[in-house]
Assembly symmetry: C2
Homo-oligomer: 542 residues x 2
Amino acid sequence: MNGLMMQMPLLISSLIVHADRHHGNAEIVSRRVEGDIHRCTYSDCHRRSRQMANALAGLGIGRSDRVATLAWNGYRHLELYYAVSGSGAVLHTMNPRLHPDQVVYIADHAEDRILFFDLSFLSIVQAIAGRVKTIKTFVAMTDRVHLPKDAGIANLLCYEDLIEGNSDAYEWPSFDENLASSMCYTSGTTGNPKGVLYSHRSTVLHTYAVALPDSLNCSAKDAILPVVPMFHVNAWGLPYVACMTGAKLVLPGPRLDGKSLHDLMEAEQVTVSAGVPTVWQALLVYLEQNHLKFATMNRTVIGGSACPPAMLRKFQETYGVYVLHAWGMTEMSPVGTVCSFKAKHAAASAEERYGVQAKQGRGVYGVDMKIVDPNGADLPWDGNASGDLMVRGPWILSRYFKDEGGDPLQNGWFPTGDVAKIDPDGYMQITDRSKDVIKSGGEWIGSIDLENVAMGHPAVAMAACIAVRHPKWDERPLLVVQKKPGAELSREDLLKFYEGKIARWWTPDDVVFVDAIPLGATGKMLKNRLREQFKDYKLPGV
Amino acid sequence: MNGLMMQMPLLISSLIVHADRHHGNAEIVSRRVEGDIHRCTYSDCHRRSRQMANALAGLGIGRSDRVATLAWNGYRHLELYYAVSGSGAVLHTMNPRLHPDQVVYIADHAEDRILFFDLSFLSIVQAIAGRVKTIKTFVAMTDRVHLPKDAGIANLLCYEDLIEGNSDAYEWPSFDENLASSMCYTSGTTGNPKGVLYSHRSTVLHTYAVALPDSLNCSAKDAILPVVPMFHVNAWGLPYVACMTGAKLVLPGPRLDGKSLHDLMEAEQVTVSAGVPTVWQALLVYLEQNHLKFATMNRTVIGGSACPPAMLRKFQETYGVYVLHAWGMTEMSPVGTVCSFKAKHAAASAEERYGVQAKQGRGVYGVDMKIVDPNGADLPWDGNASGDLMVRGPWILSRYFKDEGGDPLQNGWFPTGDVAKIDPDGYMQITDRSKDVIKSGGEWIGSIDLENVAMGHPAVAMAACIAVRHPKWDERPLLVVQKKPGAELSREDLLKFYEGKIARWWTPDDVVFVDAIPLGATGKMLKNRLREQFKDYKLPGV
């Protein structure tokens, strides 16, 4: 016997409708590619999204057609989030940091019909326009004044012309909540990129979970600045969270340097931000060099990679910005865990609290997780046992687009590729990527722990620890270090810095200094490239 | 084309599983019918719920069978929330304040198979046991020591015997999330009670929405004391919210007097509570008389009836307890709106903020609302237009159990029976129940406004304003007042108190003092009974 509640599908369009009705005057502030600051409201966004939905229909975009973007965080990109998904098409946010060859591969694989792009990416579009198979229309996200002449792109349309040329009379259609809403390709380090296809249901459920007090804790009192790009797993869901909660939304556009971010945060009284550690590193350096603080920022979400403990302390102690350590994956929409305190931690010492915050946190309700041994058997949540982290839930991938890579699940669970511990309070800590683990003499050494120690040294800007082959131990750790500009640091001093901080046998066998550690399109360190570079490296004494 | 996310149904069992895994040691503290304080954890609750699920199967309870309760807020009732719904049966929480005739009617109508009851309600059970048609088994929610001898009830079982006699090896079944999970009858003032049938989907979605920062803002740092009964619309969802968030749960059992509540709040460091105005009135009187304060309580949710402005000020100014004014209905699971501030209110004056807080608040995301004129046409959200409030959403009723009362919807919207205004910021304010509106000379007078003024007078304990027939104006307002014990107050003084607070023509035509205003089973004033009592009342000058 079923319950007798209304059958109302969970649809993305209802988020912008809600924001318009309850928070019609709340602001969306964007730094534009054109350089200026643009201000509009949720009512404006809703009206223009409806105009764009009519424009898409006029361009022949139908149910489930893929609409690609190459765009920064800005109000036009936000309009596409609602216009495309809301009308029943699929928003395919592409990563402009990818090589044009990869962009072509992804666009063809997704069978994108149309591409919207910010002018910053004109050269990419020029490079791919003649090569992509299914994209027949290109839309420059600008007005007629800024539209490039003679861009050499056939069928180049102007975004503002499409808006102006269409009525805002549009009824958001209703459909099955399982309909595909958006897609994102994983920047896999091996094999072809794989498409992750989100649904309206998964997106709305994820939005509820991410906004909860013990997740990102977002409300109408907030001003949210997502540094994490809208082309990267939907900016961790924040464009949806903003509409659900009516928070002011501040979109930084192309300028992600320390000064630009800090200026915008101060001018717009931002209360919460979100991004990967590498972005924050640059911001912290800028603040330090210029003796600046934050007036209104009270917390920031750090994910994508483990947050180095030194960064956590710096944010909290120097700047009064509470750090929410989080973990997720493109395949998880992306949020899986967020590190919020429990009641009992109020009485804990500062060091105990940092011990908790070093972990990636507790599973948000909706995400099931477990750790398993190599045979797939459950491992205890005792804070010691370390194993492959498996997840499941309504916003976690069941298979990739076009079944790329075959069935990814193991008995209904998605293997994350991360190795983790979980403590009795349910706090999960990633100890490594399974492919980054260093297997020394039959034991595992977690590369992240070794990197975190190095990152605590004042002269280190970035550190990557990789396995190097060893005749006796199979593998031993090599530390690859990028120093801060102008800093002095010797191999010996850095190795000495490890004393007392980790088990002696975990100490890296050697240190190499590089000009720059290579970063991937989403800001993560490309350790596979370092492993390739140092695959024949001779460790001392070998 | 559907998204490629996992198909995981939203099930109530996943709430207790989540609480056990992530908050296994968080406490559930209950004042028992036996008088003592009982302490257990979410892990205990999960284990005993599994034992009870096995017990229910042993008693022949299958999918969608109705299991009734007559019980206070306590850990055993909580176990039934999860054991019954989690196993696929339907939890039917009955209101023990109803007349035994009504209990019989409801139990028969629901076709309850079994009844669990707290010993406080033994006399009700004795009164109905021989009369109910489908209940064949009665379970006293106590241990063998406290089990009444010779209760005169056939098939009387002991709760703790059922727990002890069953294994905790139980796998929560998976099923369609639309399956019925629980039911509650509305204590309608006219016609037969009508059953509202919730589903797993509606319950889980409601739980997400209720826990949000701008709703009840619940987290693992909270200790929640629901004064609102678990037999009344699932205690506004708090037993589910507690599991979703891992908050400590404090259950007051039968003792809802001011002293008992305050003692428990202080002893268990409660941070948030929820209940109807009449309960808070008693608590505030107790605090005032005994010069007490709250050490940890920082907010309370007030719903069920409009919160009198004087109560709001008292809580916030005298006790530092922030009031969350909320509105909902049994048919809405129940939460529809919660009154949380927006960013812009931070700079508002205290009086402006009280003006906002007097309203029932903004729609929580998931609830659509609108106000319409008598012809069903939309009215503007301008803070002035007042009309019938309509709602829709995935946790709002589509029809009553067994289609009692016919199709309740109007073009897909549920008519709430409330009359309301909505301001441009989306804040809704109930001006009246449509049946309580006083129609004077073709204009409407809101009875709630008139009651709120009276409640602001220090000598008034409770006030109800009702329409009395008038030869010239059709209807005019009569104020029915219950004075505070020992307080002195004349008709003239009270009418004078209205001067300058409302439009002159709204002033009640007369005041009558009564010993006690009659209250319904959920603590609301029974204005229909007052209208009956005063239907021939002669107003002065008529």
